[in-house]
Amino acid sequence: MPHRLLRFALRKEYREPRFFTAHDRLKDSYDVVIIGGGGHGLACAYYLARDHGITDVAVLEQGYIGGGNTGRNTTIVRSNYLTPEGVRFYDESVRLFQDLAADFDLNIFYSERGHFTLAHSDSALRTARWRAEVNKHYGIASELVDRQAIREACPALDLDCGGQHPVLGALYHAPGAVARHDAVAWGYGRGADRRGVEIHQQTRVTGIRLEGGRVAGVETERGFIATRKVVSMVAGSTPRITAMVGLDTPIVIHPLQACVTEPMKPWLDTIIVSGSLHVYVSQSSRGELVMGAALDQAELHSTRSTFDFTEGLADKMLDLFPFVCGIKVVRQWAGMADMTPDFAPIMGTTPIAGFYLDAGWGTWGFKATPVSGKTMAWTVAHDRDHELIEPFNLARFERFRLVGEKGAASVGH
């Protein structure tokens, strides 16, 4: 048992410091206002303070810290994307994730499990090879593996999937990991807080004031704040914020659902994803199976659950792992995913001076938390897009310069 636990026993009093200072009032102005107290917003605040010395920052959160998609995702971290821009971006994120616990002095349970994207058709196999080739080109551990390799890594998996759509091979990504999602937000929050950033929970933004086409301040339920720089990092609420500054985007909100089982002793070490069956699953350090599936088909700004989601998920899950048929699902939930036409984020500067956008996170926002915080902080500090995110600027659409991540989806059919 590590010595660090001894302090709890030796001390009479419980003297753990607060993670987050409670601020009873908002100041009249801040250098930077970040809308959204999720992983991205807190990470941006953290890097603004740590790397750029910008500490006069307010993070405004309508609910509670990490209460949005940060606390609703299935915590998978990987960098085996299809496009060069995607791969470079997420590779940097993985590197940051690997050192986050040390940075924070907080255990985020970053656990490298190995990530299998199962291919059930020859077109899926082609896409897997495509991704593997692009990944390898950028030095990322990613390869196309056969059934035998999958069997060895995950003997419990029924490669024949109950007789239909058998697994033909997989894209294997050794660095694929899971992490304790809440802890990532808390770590960034605590780090930002200790560097002087103010985190205001239960503070809803009601408007953004523009003067002469540039940002002048933010209206909140708790009054007006003057600022020259506003960063929107609100994922599922993005369209509501962009509407405040009259900015049109391609973003459409779709619910993304997930569910979790009762805890059981460890039997699944890897992360298993099946595009064709629309299932992904990993086993948490608590022993629960954390499972997700495809987006709901229609736009919706709600985190309601549907029963047919769990029905479909269970059905496909038992194709892969028939023996869990008696295991019970305890809880289901949903997040609001901000989808873009090309399955890539929208980041960086916008036509409105002082308004920065970090959005379009769809189903891949958690794994980008550190890198988007870091690159957005750089972008806000320099008022210029960080080179890693240039391809993701909103302007790409009117230039018909879409990012090809969707290529994977389309070829993958």
Binding site: P239, T249, L300, H301, S302, T306, D308, D338, F397, E398
Partner: protein, 89 residues
Amino acid sequence: MKLIDCPHIGPRPASEFVYGGPYRRMPDPDAVDDKTWTEYVFNRAGSPGVKLEWWYHTPSGSWFIAERDTLRDLFLRTLTVSEVHHGHG
């Protein structure tokens, strides 16, 4: 599961329907400049609200238009496409 009241066949569970995206009028392609056109192609009215949408009932193979509150998750009413064309939308 939600019920969707198809104007052709009446209420059916949502699983029998395919969502067809927002009902939008295309600007005259020959009249608009490139910017306006690309905005039409890519941008969407993403804020929550009451929207007209395309919905398709798969078993009977028919399209119709639904007026839906995307914040409260409510189908307010459904119309045939011609009703919408003729301004009943």
